[in-house]
């Protein structure tokens, strides 16, 4: 078993903290919450300190923050139905663009690997795709595919492929077609309750999802003409659930992150626990097996809402919780 060591507890947010996101260089961290602010933390002489508080962007709860791949922009999704884009051109972070269009709470925001596409999703059941060019954002698609509230959107690590998770218990995969329309190319059915979050592995061929049904599921992509002989339709990949991790979590699982450096999977759970899973060394690629390598009881004193691995420092993990804290952890074997 490995262990998760608490490095620092970051206080400052008033009320619950919804989300944390690492800067692509791994040297700073953004968090957001109920207090409508975004806080940017940086490591100075081995201590994490708050560098900036962005308070003027949103009228209501900030649900999620996301750094652009270049690290120059932050996108924030809010329950005020807008998404704000912050940049540092004037020296300090400023909100210079507000994306309007969703009818209700925006739940999640994600940048594509190129930074040229942005996706948002909302309680209004829609997924939006925005094209960014020279600080102008145009709506490229409004996808009304989910039957309910959409909780999370995440881009594939290498392709312009988007995944979304919803209150309708499904995960959907979207791609652009020949007519520059974004269409759903796969629906991942297996969870029996709300899918709260999802995360691709470093290859993008696998996806981990977590749900209100207290399970984590691992999905494998089978491309047309795959070696395993899995049949595909319309020249599109199929995604098959190849592993279900049940019996570990005692409450809904709100977030999941698959580390691109170490392959470790961290989960944020309503039972206040952070758990870490790793694929077994003798695992069969088509029917993989995963083991829990670490469980941290009372990681927070209330629901853990978000976990994210540092993209540069192996084993460094950030978490956010209803208890108002952001925590920095280090995993070691």
């Amino acid at each position: 078993m490995g262990s998760l060591e608490l490095k620092q507890s970051l206080s400052g947010h008033k009320g619950r903290v919804w989300n944390v996101c690492w800067h692509p260089k791994g040297n700073s961290l953004a968090s957001c919450g109920e207090d409508r602010t975004i806080r940017i933390w940086a490591n100075e002489s081995s201590k994490w300190v708050v560098k900036t508080i962005l308070a003027e962007g949103h009228q209501r709860t900030v649900r999620e923050v996301s750094w652009s791949p270049c690290g120059n922009y932050i996108a924030s999704a809010s329950f005020d139905a807008t998404t704000a884009i912050w940049d540092k051109k004037a020296g300090q972070f400023e909100c210079n663009v507000t994306l309007e269009g969703h009818e209700h709470e925006v739940k999640s925001v994600s940048w594509s690997r190129s930074g040229q596409l942005l996706s948002t999703c909302s309680r209004d059941k829609s997924v939006w795709i925005w094209e960014a060019a020279d600080d102008e954002y145009e709506c490229a698609s409004v996808i009304s595919c989910h039957a309910q509230d959409v909780k999370k959107v995440k881009w594939h690590p290498h392709e312009d492929t988007l995944a979304s998770a919803s209150y309708d218990d499904t995960v959907r995969i979207f791609k652009e077609d020949a007519y520059s329309d974004w269409v759903c190319t796969a629906t991942l059915n297996s969870h029996t309750s709300t899918v709260w979050s999802l995360s691709f592995d470093s290859t993008g061929n696998r996806l981990a999802t977590c749900s209100d049904d207290k399970t984590v599921k691992i999905w494998q992509e089978y491309k047309p003409g795959n070696e395993a002989g899995i049949s595909t339709e319309n020249n599109e990949s199929v995604w098959k659930c190849c592993c279900t991790l049940s019996g570990y979590h005692s409450r809904p699982i709100y977030d999941i992150d698959w580390c691109k450096l170490t392959g470790l999977i961290a989960t944020a759970c309503g039972d206040d626990i952070i758990r870490i899973f790793r694929e077994d060394t003798d695992s069969n690629p088509n029917q993989p097996s995963f083991s829990m390598v670490c469980t941290t009881d009372d990681a927070h004193t209330q629901d853990v809402n978000s976990v994210q691995w540092n993209p540069v420092v192996p084993g460094q993990l950030a978490s956010a919780s209803d208890d108002g804290l952001v925590k920095i952890w280090l995993y070691s074997e």
Binding site: R60, T61, F79, E100, G101, E103, H104, E105, R123, D124, K125, S126, E131, E138, C139, A140, S141, V142, S144, Q148, D149, Y167, Y179, S180, D181
Partner: protein, 486 residues
């Protein structure tokens, strides 16, 4: 089943907990008879609610009904319970009225029967023609035959109404353009008004910011409504409420349009269009009767107001230059080029911008851009247009806005593609057929021109304004306790 409303309307909905939406504010009217306490209510096997009186007798309770018109007045939801909401505008209701009429006639109560008029718009005709492998003219005649068999008294084509809408829109544009030159605000860009999905979305979501820009010209459906209920009736010697007017349309949103209070005559208790029936519903009616349109006996299109012109009096279905949504941008562009800048016979070329549903055309003279028009189809392009307007970055003078991608030929209630064809491929196919139709030139349509005289007392008259123009209403966002947000 996929929704037949346009994307713009589907998004305005939220039904995660109860239907109709949790933000439904329909004030439920309970007719109070006398104060009673302790009543018992029983639910029957068929789901009906029955109240048991103290005397032991029982009385069936009325169901609360929410009408489409109620929904239009509310910012809460719109389409969450399609099946509940569209009952008064369904194929079942249509068949019920037709049956009732037949019963009156069979029982010698001729005077109680209604005069049934059907107006055919061009997009559903093309959709059905494609579905049954017919040419457009034959499909029109077959549909006429079908409706006549069902008991309709008169079948009309809508070219005159299309041309009224185009002419009035073009004249409105000229006035707006001139006013904007005099620095009157809220005139330009003029935004098209014939798509009810877009209008409804604008009223509910962007309200008074956007409404001044929307053309006040009625859509062809509602022009047809006025023509049938307030001119045809005079000519036939019937009161408007005795006529039952059915329009055949390419989308469900048209049902919402027909249900607007603006198109209801309270005094006479009659709507300009009583029932909207869509392509897909017509196909369903044919299927449920076990009939193929190919086998239906052809009928004639009635011409109570004469023919388009003498030379082509045999033509019954007309198209227009430009988009398959009626060619608004194209016609207004040419009209404005001539009337504002004396440029006759300009060629109008709409070029794709970011995507095939956003097109632009410019009129340039001596290196100066005089007119910049756009066609914006589908919800994403509506979004980009509205956001541009809000930021003061819209360069356009006129925008033809339609809520469905590819416009009305791909309306939400057009028949779905068969054999794995993509909706866009089908829309492109229908567009080719649309452009092969004889072209109507609104300024040369004898029917429209004569109606300006015989019905409207001339162009720019009060009657023209009353019958050809309408208005829009902001719907304020509700802040009810139930909809509280944190």
């Amino acid at each position: 089943m996929a929704s037949r409303f346009s994307g713009a309307l589907q998004l305005t909905d939220l039904d995660d907990f109860i239907t109709p939406s949790l933000e439904c504010i329909k004030p439920i009217e309970i007719p109070k008879s006398k104060a009673k306490t302790g009543a018992k209510i029983k639910i029957q096997e068929d789901g009906a609610y029955v109240e048991l009186n103290e005397s032991g007798t029982s009385e069936k309770l009325q169901k609360v009904e929410i009408t489409l018109a109620d929904c239009l007045a509310c910012s809460g939801c719109i389409t969450s319970a399609e099946s509940v909401l569209v009952t008064q505008q369904s194929q079942e209701e249509l068949l019920r009225v037709l049956q009732e009429n037949q019963n009156f006639r069979e029982n010698g109560k001729q005077e109680e029967a209604r005069f049934i008029v059907v107006s055919l718009s061009v997009q559903p005709v093309l959709s059905l023609a494609e579905r049954y492998g017919l040419d457009p003219e034959s499909a029109t005649r077959k549909l006429a035959g079908h409706f006549r068999q069902l008991g309709a008294d008169m079948i009309l084509d809508m070219t005159a109404a299309d041309d009224f809408s185009l002419l009035e829109s073009a004249r409105e544009f000229i006035e707006r353009y001139k006013s904007s030159q005099d620095n009157v605000k809220g005139q330009i860009p003029m935004l098209a008004s014939s798509c009810p999905g877009w209008v409804c979305y604008a009223e509910k979501t962007h309200g008074n910011f956007i409404l001044p820009y929307i053309s006040v010209t009625k859509s062809p459906q509602q022009v047809m409504g006025s023509l049938v209920k307030y001119h045809l009736t005079k000519y036939k010697g019937l009161p408007p409420e005795r006529v039952y007017h059915i329009s055949v349309m390419p989308c469900y949103d048209k049902k919402l349009e027909a249900s607007r209070e603006d198109f209801y005559n309270e005094l006479k208790q009659t709507r300009d269009v009583d029932c909207v029936i869509t392509s897909i519903e017509l196909e369903n009616m044919l299927i449920s009767q076990g009939v193929s349109l190919n086998d239906v006996e052809s009928g004639e299109i009635d011409r109570p107001f004469g023919a388009y012109n003498k030379e082509q009096s045999d033509k019954i279905l007309w198209g227009h230059q430009g988009s398959g949504s009626g060619g608004y941008a194209h016609f207004i562009f040419q009209y404005a080029a001539y009337h504002l800048f004396q440029e006759a016979n300009t060629t109008v070329e709409f070029k794709n911008l970011r995507n095939p549903d956003f097109k632009e055309a410019v009129l340039e003279k001596d290196g100066k851009i005089l007119l910049r028009f756009a066609i914006a189809n589908g919800f994403k392009n509506i979004q980009n247009l509205v956001q541009k307007l809000k930021r003061g970055k819209s360069p356009y003078h006129y925008v033809e806005v339609m809520a469905c991608p590819s416009g009305c030929l791909n309306g939400g209630a057009q028949i779905r593609p068969q054999d794995g064809l993509q909706p866009r491929e089908l829309a492109a196919k229908l567009e080719t057929v649309y452009h092969s139709l004889p072209l109507s030139k609104p300024e040369e349509n004898c029917v429209t021109l004569s109606l300006y005289t015989t019905w409207l007392e001339g162009e720019h008259s009060d009657k023209s304004a009353a019958f050809l123009h309408t208005q829009y209403h902001e719907i304020e966002k509700m802040n009810t306790a139930l909809a509280i947000k944190w």
